[in-house]
């Protein structure tokens, strides 16, 4: 989807909608440039796709949860499930590492683990592993915690009281998607700073 958007954005804008897309895409790339510098243009499509995916996953339960409940469809918010968020975090990290290898080669990739000193190796490994845990737990905890609050409020007062909480849940859902996306950017940027830039 974002690749499509990007292709549209590369051409000169011909209609109003493509001009709007152009502006949005420029804005996203500018945001990415503050972390990645010159690599923003190639890295942003994937990260933006992840952002849109998490955003829809977060919102789908808030917006249509009652509809699914009424129709008896056994569907729950995907990101309120620890397996989904763990999968997303692992995928994100694999993508970051493979992106780095593709652009800078295996040698520089291995060097990262031994920077700044060789005995930092276990700490570096630990750092990369905790990133996965914290990414997945943060997303899962926020979304499912918010759902728990809404459920408890609905239990106490089934009429109208949960509505502001659901609105807050929409807001947190957006913030969490944004945080996930930005942390992906930050991790990639940090990796490029550590391994790619200062060795050239």
């Amino acid at each position: 989807m974002v690749f499509m958007l990007m292709n549209t954005a590369k051409k000169e804008p011909t209609s109003t909608s493509s001009a709007v897309l152009h502006i949005i895409w420029d804005w996203i790339v500018d945001y990415g440039k503050s972390f990645l510098g010159e690599y923003a243009e190639e890295a942003m499509p994937f990260l933006t796709t992840v952002f849109i995916f998490i955003l829809t996953s977060n919102w789908i339960g808030d917006l249509f949860g009652t509809v699914f409940e009424a129709l008896d469809i056994p569907f729950r918010t995907p990101t309120a499930n620890i397996s989904v968020t763990a999968g997303l975090a692992i995928g994100m990290l694999l993508w970051i590492h493979s992106w780095f290898i593709r652009h800078f080669g295996v040698k520089k990739y291995l060097k990262i683990y031994f920077a700044p000193m060789w005995w930092m190796f276990p700490l570096n490994i630990l750092e990369h592993l905790t990133r996965v845990v914290s990414l997945s737990l943060r997303l899962y905890g926020n979304v499912s915690g918010e759902h728990l609050v809404v459920a408890i409020l609905a239990l106490l007062a089934p009429f109208a009281l949960p509505v502001p909480m659901i609105a807050l849940s929409l807001f947190t859902g957006f913030i969490q998607a944004y945080i996930f996306f930005t942390l992906g950017l930050v991790y990639l940027g940090a990796m490029i700073e550590e391994g790619g830039a200062h060795n050239e």
Binding site: S34, S134, L137, R138, Y140, G141, N142, S144, G145, L148, I175, Y178, I179, T182, L183, V186
Partner: protein, 84 residues
């Protein structure tokens, strides 16, 4: 004391403590960020970004406590040991 009461206490007190302490930290962070923006309105974008990131890191600590609480409430591994 039944294990249900023990579980509820073990879940609610640490979560409240963690949320309160994190709220203090977040308050400090937000006040400093607002000061920074007031002093230097040009840097609003950068400060905003860093503020959100730092808030996310503080929040994740509370989320760890919440995750432990959820495990204790809904998937308690110790409940079999003490027999309900």
């Amino acid at each position: 004391m039944s294990s249900l009461v023990a579980t509820i206490l073990a879940v609610s007190f640490p979560l409240g403590l963690a949320a309160g302490l994190a709220a203090i930290g977040m308050g400090m962070l937000a006040s400093k960020a607002v000061e920074g923006v007031a002093r230097q309105p040009d840097a609003t974008g950068d400060i905003n970004r860093m503020l959100l990131l730092a808030l996310a890191f503080i929040e994740s600590l509370v989320i760890y406590v919440l995750a432990i609480s959820l495990v204790l409430l809904f998937a308690n591994p110790f409940i079999k040991l003490i027999g309900g």
